[in-house]
């Protein structure tokens, strides 16, 4: 029966290829959703991961940066610097707001830097300077490309115009672009003085960041100190939670589409095999054997579709990213694993109706074939 099952699957190569290709397109859709999701989740925390900090200190009760608000008086920076085990500190002021370029608004995270003695600025540059001066701004190169900005161009942050002096790499995501100005300019925008949002702490060699965070919370009043790894994790979680329902819904739609396409492919296959199913049943194949045969064919088509979709994803994603720079796509092993699990469920569900259809074929019809 297995030989017949496999041979039948390959007996109409064009139909098989069409079935695999249509199902693969649905899985590719799911993979792209996942890749966008994973890419964005990665990009949202890119700044935090690249900032040279072992511990992040912020307003008490705050635990992340994405869409958060944190204010500390800047004298706390000195208090943190004095905690034993601290090798150095950096402070940034931070604001979520809309940046306009050429009349086009873009939601951004504005980071105010203590220029020139800072290590909290952009880590890679496409053009220009990495640190802005008064009235100057460093914007992501992708953002500049999208809005037609170049070095020397103007962007508006709330009510002030800034001159672009640097185009940074890796600081753009669809959820938040990171834009750098001086802390004094940002204080001016926020009409506040002597405040910071986050203190980036560098630990002395051999000092455990978790222990140092505890020491900072003990020694400095009304602050929360979090080791960098945990802070990045918190931030990614927060960002991911904001989009998780949308992505889950998209994955569900893609998976449902895959179920429909695989089910249709198997249904058509079984419809074409109806005469032969009647014959094999007349010859002595049990309903269980027919069920297994149909499920095997569904699993085969699903597996081939998944492999094809992963290959297509690996092939097309770099091209898509090059074509659409604002898109960050990341194909992870976890995504492929998830798609395999989804595929198994898809194959199971998709084979149910065709298997019933196959098992219901009356062997008697072999006499009328």
């Amino acid at each position: 029966m297995w030989r017949w099952t496999i041979s039948s699957l390959f007996s109409q190569p064009l139909a098989l290829i069409a079935s695999i290709a249509t199902a693969a397109s649905a899985f590719l859709l799911v993979l792209v959703f996942e890749a966008v999701y994973d890419g964005e989740a990665e990009q949202v925390v890119a700044y935090l991961k690249h900032a040279d900090a072992d511990v992040w200190v912020m307003q008490q009760g705050v635990s992340n940066m994405h869409m958060a608000t944190s204010y500390l008086s800047d004298y706390k920076t000195k208090q943190v610097r004095d905690v034993p085990g601290v090798a150095g500190v950096d402070q940034i002021l931070y604001l979520n707001t809309v940046v306009k370029s050429g009349g086009q608004p873009w939601f951004s995270f504005i980071v105010g830097l203590d220029v020139p003695d800072t290590r909290a600025g952009p880590w890679a540059m496409a053009a220009g300077r990495s640190l802005p001066g008064p009235g100057e701004v460093v914007v992501p190169a992708v953002f500049a490309g999208m809005t037609g900005l170049a070095l020397g161009g103007k962007v508006r942050i709330t009510d002030r115009d800034f001159t672009v002096v640097g185009l940074s790499e890796g600081t753009f995501s669809m959820a938040n672009s990171v834009i750098f100005v001086t802390r004094r300019d940002l204080e001016d925008i926020m009409t506040s003085l002597d405040i910071v949002s986050y203190i980036l702490v560098k630990a002395e060699t051999g000092v455990d960041p978790a222990a140092l965070a505890n020491d900072i919370e003990r020694d400095v009043d009304k602050v929360t100190a979090i080791p960098s790894g945990q802070f990045v994790f918190n931030d990614r979680n927060m960002a991911v939670q904001m989009g998780v329902e949308t992505i889950a819904l998209m994955t569900l739609i893609g998976a449902s589409l895959a179920v429909l396409l695989v089910a249709f492919a198997i249904y058509s296959l079984i419809a074409r095999q109806r005469r032969e199913l009647a014959v094999v049943k007349a010859l002595g194949a049990s309903n269980r054997t027919v069920y297994l045969s149909v499920a095997f064919q569904a699993a085969g088509i699903t597996l081939a579709s998944i492999v094809l979709s992963v290959l297509l994803a690996m092939l097309l994603m770099p091209a898509a990213t090059a074509l659409i720079p604002q898109l960050t796509l990341k194909l992870t092993l976890a995504s492929v694993g998830r798609i395999a699990v989804v595929g198994a469920v898809v194959a199971l569900i998709a084979s149910l109706i065709p298997a019933r259809q196959g098992a219901r074929v009356d062997p008697l019809s072999a006499f009328h074939a």
């Binding site: 030989r3 017949w4 039948s8 010859l283 054997t289 008697l364 072999a366 006499f367």
Partner: protein, 296 residues
Amino acid sequence: MMLNETVLSCENLVKTFGAGHTEVRAVDGVSLLVKRGELVLVMGPSGSGKTTLLSMLGGLLRPTSGTVHIDGVEITALSESQLPRIRARSIGFVFQSFNLLDALTVEENILFPARLLRGPVTAAKSRADELIKRLGLSHRRSSQPGTLSGGEKQRVAIARALINEPALILADEPTGNLDSANGQEVMMILHDIARDEGRSVILVTHDPRVEDLADRILWLEDGALRDRKAERHSWVHDPVCGMRVDEWTAEISTTFAQERYVFCSQRCLDRFATGPQQYVSKTSGNGDAPNTEDSA
């Protein structure tokens, strides 16, 4: 070989379709014994219930009442899940339209029922080799069914039916799609299977040319069965439509001017009744008509 051993027996087999005033009694109280090595023809007009009977004997259709025993096993008492194994092990099917599996080669088609039994394949392979050789299919072993002639296809189907060495072969119009030479060859193979291997063969056919090879001919009409091995035919022509009708078995007849006329259908009789003169002017009783035939 015990030639008197009963391979198939059915008792008072009835199959009805529909209910109430639409009820059709396709098979009506058929009882039958078939011995090992016997070749039995089942003949009868279209719609007489031949295929329905064959389907019940093969465990493909449950009778409304009655029993079927194959090799001592009452297949009518078996569950749906038990029947496929009996079909694979004890019955070989040969179909009019061959019903080979297109995706498999000749050898794989022949081995298919053997693989369903999940027994040792080595014995089945050697049996397949023997059948391929015996049925003259050696040069077609790896061919796809689509490349075979009708006669070759039916020989593959017969080899497939024999692979599990079943006690009973059920063949539905096995010569129906073959030319006369190939039809004769297939019939001879089935005849040899019964005579040399001691398998019982029940063969449904319309083909009068194969009657001489049968041990028994059963005539099925309106679902009822009767033995007509000793009968001869008396072919006459329906005076209305001209169709050939067996005068001895025809049920629709009338007498006009002291002559008996037989008809192929009630419709022809009704037409005859509206103006017999115009039809009898051509013939004087279709038994005496110049085109009357009489054959064994």
